[in-house]
């Protein structure tokens, strides 16, 4: 599914040539290669920074207008390469936003590259004043153990009246609302299969 060209029957190939006037001889930068950029451009025009980047279609992560965005990355993850986001801009082919973005969307790049992005699993021990880096295995094993122990200890199979209720209300789970529907369903299955009732998402607020 990652091959967007397949699903994309109407990718915009329009060029805003009007501005140059008719009959203008154009120079192909691609043909000149990167070394030619400076030569191809007027001295006073900065090189076009997106040359050679990979375009990926995505949706803005913020509000529910769900603007279509284009992510320009150095490297192509569909080819197994390491990819880094260089620029994000609105997708003009998207019916809702028509290429526009709000100040949040226009600055998505800084969300992706925020200094406060998390990179490693961390734990803060009881009473401690700092996070310590741990392995995923450690973190996941420990969380699985904590959840299971609590469930085993506090699971309610029958209520006071003897009715089967099979609920677990001593632990809770908050789902966010920027994850995908697929993540949501995965989350739903895990949480509800354990009998957890204290389960909400941002919509509640």
């Amino acid at each position: 599914m990652a091959d967007i060209a397949d699903t994309d029957t109407r990718i915009s190939r329009r060029f805003f040539l009007k501005g140059a006037g008719a009959g203008v001889a154009v120079t192909s930068l691609g043909a000149l290669g990167f070394g030619g950029i400076e030569a191809a451009y007027a001295d006073s025009i900065r090189p076009f920074k997106l040359l050679g980047t990979t375009i990926t279609r995505n949706t803005c992560t913020y509000c529910s207008v769900a603007c279509g965005i284009l992510i320009y990355s150095k490297g192509d993850i569909t080819k197994g390469e390491k990819a880094e986001v260089k620029h994000i801009e609105g997708d003009v082919d998207h019916p809702t936003n028509r290429g526009t973005l709000c100040p949040k969307g226009a600055a998505l790049l800084d969300f992706v590259h925020a200094k406060t992005r998390l990179e490693y699993p961390m734990v803060r021990r009881p009473g401690s004043d700092k996070f310590e880096r741990v392995t995923w295995d450690y973190a996941l094993d420990r969380i699985a153990r904590l959840l299971k122990d609590d469930r085993d200890k506090n699971f309610i199979e029958k209520n006071a009246a003897g009715v089967t209720v099979n609920r677990w209300v001593s632990s809770g789970f908050l789902a966010a609302s920027a994850t995908t529907n697929e993540t949501a369903f995965c989350t739903f299955k895990v949480v509800r299969s354990m009998g957890m009732l204290m389960f909400d998402n941002q919509a509640r607020v």
């Binding site: 509000c63 100040p103 789902a175 920027a178 949501a184």
Partner: protein, 811 residues
């Protein structure tokens, strides 16, 4: 949204009330601008503050926060009194003619059946009068004193323009001007769209705020038509999807509901979910509930869910009470919760009464956060001076902070407010060891399941039998999950008329929820999403932006639920005979033998006009001006003041807040009153920021760097607060320090003869990120939710304010 963002371009009048679309949804708001520029549409903004939406409005009217219902009931009163009613629509497409049973009544702000101790109603009298055939009795003349229309007329009569103005603070002339502008849209070829958001939901009567406007839209004939509808702008990118998917304390996917312990058996559970039509020949789509439910159970537990074990009905937990977040944090505060997982959520800043939140989190044994970013919640134990003044050493909570990917590093679908499911693709390698949520959940689940397999434990059945047939159980992919959500045939499905004819072979994806079965032969994770990933491929990834006739429908762009329908109740866009109300804005019409048009009909394609009502999800087939016992706080809306209000409720002075709202004892004691806290505060977003996320993004931080409160010039003068100076704002629950932004955009209002000053408090600051450290409104807000949804009352509470020389220095 009943309609879509792009449909707003078809409107004649946009009314933004209970929201601030220009500021919170700029790219969606463009369709208002387009309607204005291309159709000559008008824009009305009703808000306590002159917002960025108001800046481009044709008409702005101020309103005191928390009084929207009085305003809107007054508007209904005016429409009825001035014959601004779309009569054919009201008579045919709403329940206006139906009789309500005897015994139903309303007096002094309360309906029949109120129990003051329980703060709840016995709602049995809130119902129609049914005939011996089981169908509702109707008076087409609308003259019967017990018909819904008569009762409504009587109910709204007291909301005169004078009273509305006394309650809301909206000057009478401005209120009347809004009435006139709205009234014009009662013409069948004029439509109004209502755009709202958390300005309506975050009240102790949030659901009724919305309902009141929905009633107006029914009276004006604006539901189901192009350029009309009730359009919830919604906040987060997939808040719609997570709700659709049932990630709520009381829900299952597709708005199926979790059983209560009063429904111990599947039979009992289904007995209240039959949804028998209340009108002859009416389609009542929820009659398919069992097919949806059984298919859901099959997707959860596969072969383990059988007819014999009632499709594993016992494996679903049974509710005793609602475990919404307000109760969850109250239980946590009482020390009754041990573990909590926050999958990308920041409750420390998002839930009311921050001090209580901190105390609650501190009582947890363990807290897990899964997020792309550091959050205040994951660092609630860390001392940040006045911005998070905690005793770190005394907090015994073990906290895990797990790094997840963000949008740029993940595949999958998001559901927007217009119900479009849009697929997106990963573009980037995640930073460090960050992992996708499905990997984290897969890993966690298989570990827990293995522990149950190895060592047993409390009721392992639903866990060890959970259908988890992913190629890599530790890492379900988005495609696998999407197919599971869509649903598939577990066995060959055959034509009901001809058992030899296979309509869908085993293992194939179902084309839509119409194929779902109640006999266990189909599985479907979320019935309303059925059709999103069929044998024809991933419909959510479609990218054909063709729009025949320029309707704004875009039916080939991705996919929308249900069954790719873009405007809900679209049958109502045509009159009783099936002709469009407005020929210039056709949507759906009857073509002799079937419905046709630009959108997928929201009715059986061959359902004859005049037989089947357009609202097929209601047993009545009509829109509900009177909702029977389905809302906890009344079948009609009533004006209730916020729990912290500057004046008494003018229609029922003894009632504080919404009488049906649940309030915990601790929280009730934390309410302040007007003598101590004379100003009304409200919280909101600013366009430069998205909640507590963009304070991590440098650009956004630079565009709106520091926490401030907005104060009108009059109050600033009275309190001697120069623009840009520092103030302290406090409520019964906490205190914050902020820069004062003194503005002309907030003006005092006259409510019941008293001058009311509004203090505005934006919500984007915390103690982590690129912005300067600040506070959120939740440091001050009360803990009380909407009677129906438990959404906290963030939009109206009481505070006091004083100038200070500067912020408390950080030690």
């Amino acid at each position: 949204m009943t309609n879509s963002w792009t449909d707003i371009k078809n409107t004649d009048l946009a009314i933004i009330m209970g929201g601030n679309a220009a500021e919170a949804h700029p790219c969606g708001f463009k369709w208002v601008t387009e309607a204005k520029a291309n159709r000559g549409a008008r824009l009305i903004v009703v808000d306590p503050r002159y917002t960025r939406s108001a800046a481009v409005a044709d008409y702005y009217a101020p309103i005191r926060q928390g009084t929207d219902i009085a305003f809107l009931l007054g508007l209904i009163n005016w429409l009825m009194a001035n014959n601004k009613v779309q009569w054919e629509y009201v008579k045919s497409f709403t329940n206006a003619p139906y009789l309500v049973q005897e015994g139903f009544g309303y007096q002094d702000g309360l309906f029949t059946g109120y129990d003051e101790v329980k703060r709840d109603y016995d709602r049995s009298t809130w119902n129609y009068e049914l005939g011996p055939d089981g169908y509702v009795i109707s008076d087409e003349t609308l003259e019967h004193p017990r018909c819904v229309w008569s009762l409504l007329k009587q109910h709204v009569a007291q909301y005169t323009p004078e009273l509305v103005s006394r309650i809301t603070g909206t000057p009478k002339d401005k209120f009347l001007k809004v009435c006139e502008m709205v009234g014009e849209c009662s013409a069948p070829d004029k439509t109004m769209t209502s755009m709202y958001a958390l300005g309506w939901t975050q009240h102790s009567k949030g659901s009724q705020n919305i309902r009141t406007m929905a009633m107006i839209q029914l009276i004006l004939g604006n539901i189901g038509v192009r350029g009309g509808g009730m359009n919830a702008l919604r906040g987060h990118s997939n808040i719609q999807g997570l709700t659709d998917m049932g990630l709520m304390s009381n829900l299952l996917p597709g708005y199926l509901t979790l059983p209560f312990e009063t429904e111990p058996t599947f039979e009992k559970y289904m007995s209240t979910r039959g949804y028998k039509p209340l009108r002859p020949d009416q389609t009542s789509y929820w009659q398919n509930y069992k097919s949806f439910f059984v298919s859901f159970q099959k997707s959860m537990w596969g072969a383990a869910a059988t007819a014999e074990n009632d499709w594993s009905y016992d494996w679903l937990p049974k509710l005793d009470v609602a475990y919404d977040i307000i109760r969850a944090f109250n239980l946590m505060f009482e020390g009754k919760v041990n573990g909590y997982v926050c999958q990308g959520f920041n409750p420390l800043l998002a839930f009311p009464n921050r001090a209580k939140c901190t105390a609650a989190l501190s009582k947890l044994k363990f807290l897990v956060t899964i997020d792309p970013l550091q959050t205040e919640t994951s660092r609630f134990w860390e001392n940040h001076g006045p911005h998070n003044d905690v005793d770190t050493a005394s907090i015994q909570t073990e906290v895990f902070q797990l790094p997840s990917t963000c949008f740029a590093e993940d595949d999958g679908s998001l559901t927007n407010s217009g119900r479009w499911l849009q697929w997106h693709w990963a573009a980037s390698t995640p930073p460090g060891e960050a992992q996708r949520d499905t990997w984290i959940l897969g890993q966690l689940f298989t570990r827990i399941r293995d522990l149950y397999r190895q060592e047993g434990g409390a009721f392992p059945d639903p866990i060890v039998n959970l259908n988890w047939s992913y190629e890599d159980p530790d890492y379900p992919t988005a495609d696998e999950l999407a197919k599971e959500i869509n649903g598939s045939a577990l066995e060959d499905l055959t034509d009901p008329a001809d058992a030899t004819k296979v309509t869908l072979a085993k293992g194939k994806q179902v084309p839509s929820f119409a194929a779902l079965r109640d006999d266990g032969k189909t599985a479907c994770g979320c019935w309303i999403y059925s059709g999103c990933f069929t044998e024809a491929g991933n419909q959510m990834a479609r990218r054909d932006n063709a729009d025949p006739d320029d309707t704004g429908i875009y039916s080939k762009w991705t996919w929308s639920w249900p069954v790719n329908r873009r405007i809900l109740y679209n049958r109502a866009s045509a009159d009783v005979k099936g002709d469009p109300w407005d020929r210039t804005r056709k949507l759906l019409w009857w073509e002799g033998s079937k419905w046709t048009g630009f959108d997928v009909p929201d009715i059986a394609p061959t359902a004859k006009p005049g037989v089947v009502g357009p609202f097929i999800m209601n047993e009545e087939g009509t829109g509900r001006l009177f909702v029977r016992g389905m809302m906890r706080d009344g079948p009609f809306p009533v004006h209730y003041e916020p729990f912290e209000a500057p004046i008494a409720n003018l229609i029922a002075p003894k009632i504080r807040g919404n009488p049906a709202s649940r309030v915990f004892k601790y929280d009730w004691e934390q309410f302040g009153d007007v003598a101590e806290f004379p100003y009304v505060a409200t919280s909101y977003r600013l366009t430069e920021h998205f909640h507590y996320w963009t304070k991590h993004a440098q650009i956004n931080a630079s565009l709106q760097p520091e926490f401030f409160v907005e104060i009108g010039e009059e109050l600033a003068k009275e309190k001697n607060i120069p623009n840009g100076s520092w103030v302290r704002v406090w409520s019964k629950r906490g205190s914050v320090e902020a820069v004062a932004l003194v503005t002309k955009r907030i003006r005092p209002m006259l409510c019941d003869g008293k001058v009311q000053h509004v203090i505005g408090m934006p919500l984007h600051w915390g103690f982590i990120g690129e912005t300067k450290k600040g506070y959120g409104p939740n440091s001050l807000t009360p803990v009380v939710g909407d009677a129906n949804s438990e959404t906290p009352e963030f939009k109206a509470w009481l505070v006091n304010v004083e100038p200070i020389t500067g912020p408390t220095p950080v030690a």
